[in-house]
Symmetry: C2
Subunit: 340 residues, 2 copies
Amino acid sequence: MGVTLKDIAAEAGVSLMTVSNVVNGKQARVSAATRERIMRIVKERGYVPSASARSLAARSSRLVGLLVPAVGESSLTIDPHTVEVVGMLERELRRLDYHLMLRGISRHGEITEALRSWNLDGAVLLGFNDIVIDRLSAADVGGVALVAMDSYSENPLALEVRSDDFGGAVLATRHLVGLGHERIAFAGPAFSDTGVVRQRFEGYRTVLAEHGIAFDPALASEVETTHAAGLAYGRRLAAEHPEVTAVFTTADILAIGLIEGLAAAGRSVPGDVSVVGYDNAEIAVYVTPKLTTIAQDLPGKAAEAVRLMMDRLAGKDRPAQAVSLDVALIERGTAGPPPS
Amino acid sequence: MGVTLKDIAAEAGVSLMTVSNVVNGKQARVSAATRERIMRIVKERGYVPSASARSLAARSSRLVGLLVPAVGESSLTIDPHTVEVVGMLERELRRLDYHLMLRGISRHGEITEALRSWNLDGAVLLGFNDIVIDRLSAADVGGVALVAMDSYSENPLALEVRSDDFGGAVLATRHLVGLGHERIAFAGPAFSDTGVVRQRFEGYRTVLAEHGIAFDPALASEVETTHAAGLAYGRRLAAEHPEVTAVFTTADILAIGLIEGLAAAGRSVPGDVSVVGYDNAEIAVYVTPKLTTIAQDLPGKAAEAVRLMMDRLAGKDRPAQAVSLDVALIERGTAGPPPS
DNA sequence: CGTCCAAGGTATAGCGCTAAACCTAGCATG
DNA sequence: CATGCTAGGTTTAGCGCTATACCTTGGACG
């Protein structure tokens, strides 16, 4: 079916290696005339090199893995966040004639398996828990270029890219304290865990302490990052903690659900309760009032991850140091002074 | 570095082929005792088969491509839509020990190149224009299993999965006509093209004709699928066509922008103008008033695409026939009777 | 005039795996 | 007792490519 190097070589009357050299742009060893003749035949016959054969013979696959957690039977956790990275990464890789392989990871061993099985040149790990990254040993990784996004591991085998989650929480909480709030609740998923949400939780607690406000564990709730969970939480909060005048949440969608839940319980935002979201998602400006939130530099994060990956693939070794991007408070309509 | 079949064979004192048979679960030719011994060694040594070697030797890569249009230098066009498919596809493929390769396509030739270079067993084409699919010849495709989503090509080489776009437009437009509207505008991207949007445009025109309403080309506008474009369109519409009392749009995000644009021009929804969106996106319920829209069966579409792909990979040949999924009108708050 | 060298190639030996054909002992069968 | 068959393997011949070492010319140079 397919045209191979051998076919081209036969037609051009040269050895197979000469064709290989031409196709791979190794200028040195071929005369211009021969090169042109071969290229013409390659075009004519529609020759496409076999990536598997190359990968096998050259011990390099020109393949980068995109590894995403996949919880059991459920789908991949690709949020708008992630999509941006995927898009940028694919484009940059394509420019350099690399390819992207998407792989959900449900057991730890699958990371190593993915790296080795396809002989990946690099891999981007999206949103894994620190512990997962920590457990990666040099033997697991081999020489694969690893970039971990949104992980707080300190594994020197992976270059890390994240935004300043602690700082974002500090910004949000200080904003609320500055407006005069004292009973400030926190809502986010699994914050007792390590990782991104934990950092935001610590930022929140730090600012409370900084202002002499006692941390009340009853005001920190584990809430999933969905509209429905936010809504339920809003009702609950209104019923159980009417003294709360502000909430810092770790996701916009949760915040929007929360606002609806509060409204359902007769509490208005920002009149009765102030709310700050996180991520500055697209939806943040479509709701009324528009959501006050923390913006991450998403394109920046994606660009940085891509840059690190490209540099490592190109062989530029850089210190395994974490890159942390700045965040910003976007003041819109959901945070105001507490009711007097 | 890596452990190979040869290493395992040497350690187990059997031939390489026996190990290969065990690893690939070919029960027939190996005794239970030998099989267990080999499996133990495989586990101990952490053997991972080389996918490139397999692909080369077996002429099958267990690799499925996800081909997405990539316009020039820009990123991939992965909308929430697409993400659902990606997630489901990855999960199903992983269960069957296939892998997913993500590839942006910016020139037509790249489709063939992608199929051939990695020796793909199958490919899902997401959101390509019909013309692109039409141009695919048997030689381009080889034996690759092709599933095209949201294409209206009739190329027998690709199984097609789409939802009933014409029917959706009919539902939306009839709803508006039924409410008493006569000056109904249409807004969507590139509807003069072929494809999904064209189908919706035809649905709209058909219903107008059906009710004896003359089609006015000035009321059909080419508007990009973004909030900003919708907003600009809203202002323009209010200024240039104050007689319009209803708009059917091909995307929710466009509809939401449109509503804001109308509001900015002093026209309220649904009091002055009714609006129907398309897709029943998540945001549709977060805006006020909640958006009346057409819902596609997204999970169904994804599931169907996956099912077709799986069947074809498993060798079940089915007639190359298009699957079309039903749509539904979701009545919410943005469509009402025209002002009297 | 012998030597060196560069330019422009070719020949050889795999990479790690699988498909397909082949082998061999041991047993049942007519 | 020859024959066939089966279980349980082994051997051989690549898949399409690249790395590496090697081979020829025809000058330039001392």
